[in-house]
């Protein structure tokens, strides 16, 4: 064996003293991943850092906290608040509905084709977002939409007279749920599949009732991955703009729409305030994802 296999080479490279052998290998070692890292640094990390640094600078490039402080003005706070409300409401409703559907198709004793059909449809619907989704909901719940008209003519219920409006908090939330529920179904179904049959049998052997089994076995096991997915759904809704913009124009002032208007026309009359808004968005979705990763690692202990 004169020719060492590749795995042996890397081990040899690690155990051998770091002399010229390693110095010679380094450039080629990194060549394969170089395009990836150059791309990520240039087009993902640097642009984000640029904005984050800009959030702490004034027009002359000096350090300041004024931009961050300026986020406290009522119109911007209101934008953040409505964004957080819509994202949270759509994440929670989407998560519970998605969980219910996932449990129904995995555990509910429904025919097998329903499970595969639901999962396929969820894959499609979770990617059916953006402008076309807004069109679909305008055609359904807009003033002339099918559901609006049918409710009015068949049940005599004029939802618009009762204060409903598709261009509102509930209208937007109801629309976002259309991609939030399927996303929940896609992510949580494996977790429910991961509930081992033996646990149910063990619980039954020990004399547990169905309620006890759910309360003391099922819920604790899927809780971390459920919570983690809620957070993912939150971040998913928080950064979305196309659906809201096509649905409401700029009548519902959520953060991404405010930032969009700021990028297009500096409506806030301070370019660095735009950086601060972007910074705030990254902080919120970043925090959400830190929690997500934390919950995810906790849940993986059980689902392996």
């Amino acid at each position: 064996m004169t020719d060492l296999s590749l795995s042996d080479q890397t081990i040899a490279g690690k155990t051998a003293p770091p002399s010229e052998a390693r110095a010679l290998r380094l450039p080629t070692q990194w060549l394969g991943v170089a395009p990836f890292f150059i791309f990520a640094i240039m087009f993902l990390i640097l642009p984000t850092l640029y904005l984050m640094l800009g959030a702490f600078q004034n027009n002359d490039g000096e350090f300041t906290l004024e931009n961050i402080a300026a986020l406290a003005q009522p119109s911007i706070v209101a934008a953040y608040w409505i964004s957080i409300k819509v994202s949270l409401a759509s994440a929670l409703i989407g998560a519970f509905a998605g969980l219910a559907i996932a449990i129904a198709i995995v555990r509910g004793g429904l025919p097998n084709w329903i499970r595969s059909a639901t999962l396929t449809f969820s894959g499609v619907a979770s990617n059916f977002a953006g402008v076309p989704l807004a069109f679909a909901f305008l055609a359904t719940l807009g003033r002339l939409g099918l559901a609006t008209v049918l409710l009015n003519t068949v049940f005599g219920l004029n939802i618009y007279a009762h204060g409903f409006n598709i261009l509102s908090f509930w209208g937007l939330t109801l629309t976002y749920i259309y991609f939030q529920i399927p996303l929940m179904v896609v992510i949580i179904t494996p977790a429910i599949d991961g509930l081992k049959k033996e646990w149910g049998e063990a619980a039954a052997t020990l004399g547990a009732t169905t309620t006890q089994y759910w309360r003391m076995v099922v819920i604790p096991v899927i809780w971390p991955s459920f919570l983690g997915t809620v957070i993912l759904l939150f971040a998913n809704a928080f950064g979305a703009i196309a659906t809201a913009y096509a649905l409401t124009g700029s009548s519902l002032n959520i953060v991404p729409i405010l930032l969009y208007a700021q990028i297009r026309g500096d409506v806030l009359h301070n370019p660095h305030l735009g950086y601060a808004i972007a910074f705030g968005m990254i902080v919120i979705t970043g925090l959400a994802n830190v929690f997500y990763i934390w919950f995810r690692t906790r849940s993986e202990r059980w689902l392996k």
């Binding site: 509910g108 429904l110 059916f128 259309y178």
Partner: protein, 263 residues
């Protein structure tokens, strides 16, 4: 168990209603253009619109370039990390998750400020440069999906043995990646490619802020100015998404399930 099955049907029925009513309503609305009868007029008008053809063609092209760029960046990196640099895996996985953390609008805002006409790398100074920047932006959006698809594909083949065998036969690195590794993960790469296509084809934020004549901004424009055409476009977009996802499912049947020797 009887009551359990009953509730399962109730949940499924409610879900099906929520998901199908908007689709039915949209189809119905899209056919209402001619007064009193159902017709496909809205579809005819949309499909015959030269701006539809131009923007759709532009977005298809952008999606193809995005896929090529994504493959060029992801495949060598994922391969090399499996083969030689497993210690980099956590870093790379973290980076590929970043586009889910940083909203697209923030990424493109960064591009506009960093690569403007007066910057050292003036992508935005020319139309071609802006096109390239759009494709780059799309590639970052697709990065999480592309990386995961390729990495899953690599997990099912024995990367090390294949590489060694190719080396013994005298193949260089370029040959190994393009003629040994890539064909073996082709199905995974294609899955990632179709998902990328579904994401990119109607993308609005980046195309709109970079002022490119893409399909997403066109959709938004039609939505703001027309009544029945948007519904027809929504159905077309749904069909495209459906098509991409079906192709992924069909492809997954051809994918190898596991490696002979896990690595």
């Amino acid at each position: 168990m009887k009551t359990g099955r009953f509730w399962a049907w109730v949940v499924f029925g409610l879900g099906a209603a929520y998901f199908f009513i908007p689709l039915i309503a949209t189809v119905e609305f899209s056919m209402r253009m001619r007064r009193g009868v159902y017709s496909f007029d809205a579809y005819q008008i949309v499909l015959g619109d030269p701006r539809f053809q131009a923007t759709f063609g532009y977005s298809v092209l952008a999606a193809l370039f995005t896929i090529i760029l994504g493959v060029l960046i992801v495949v060598p990196a994922a391969y090399w990390i499996r083969l030689r640099l497993p210690q980099l895996r956590p870093i790379v996985e973290f980076i590929t998750l970043l586009p889910l953390v940083i909203p697209a609008i923030v990424i493109v805002f960064g591009y506009i400020r960093m690569y403007g006409s007066n910057s050292p790398l003036p992508f935005l100074a020319s139309d071609r440069g802006t096109d390239l920047l759009l494709v780059i932006g799309y590639a970052t959006l697709a990065l999480p999906y592309m990386y995961r698809a390729v990495d899953t594909g690599l997990r099912t083949i024995d990367v090390r043995t294949l590489t060694e065998a190719a080396q013994i036969l005298g193949a260089g690195w370029g040959t190994i990646v393009t003629r040994v590794i890539l064909p073996n993960v082709l199905i995974a790469v294609l899955s990632g490619a179709f998902l990328t296509f579904a994401i990119v084809i109607g993308e609005f934020t980046m195309a709109s802020l970079l002022n490119r004549p893409a399909f997403g901004p066109y959709l938004q424009n039609i939505g703001a100015n027309r009544a029945y055409e948007p519904a027809a476009l929504a159905i077309i977009a749904f069909a495209i998404t459906w098509g991409c996802m079906s192709l992924i499912q069909i492809l997954s049947r051809f994918a190898p399930k596991s490696a002979n020797r896990p690595n």
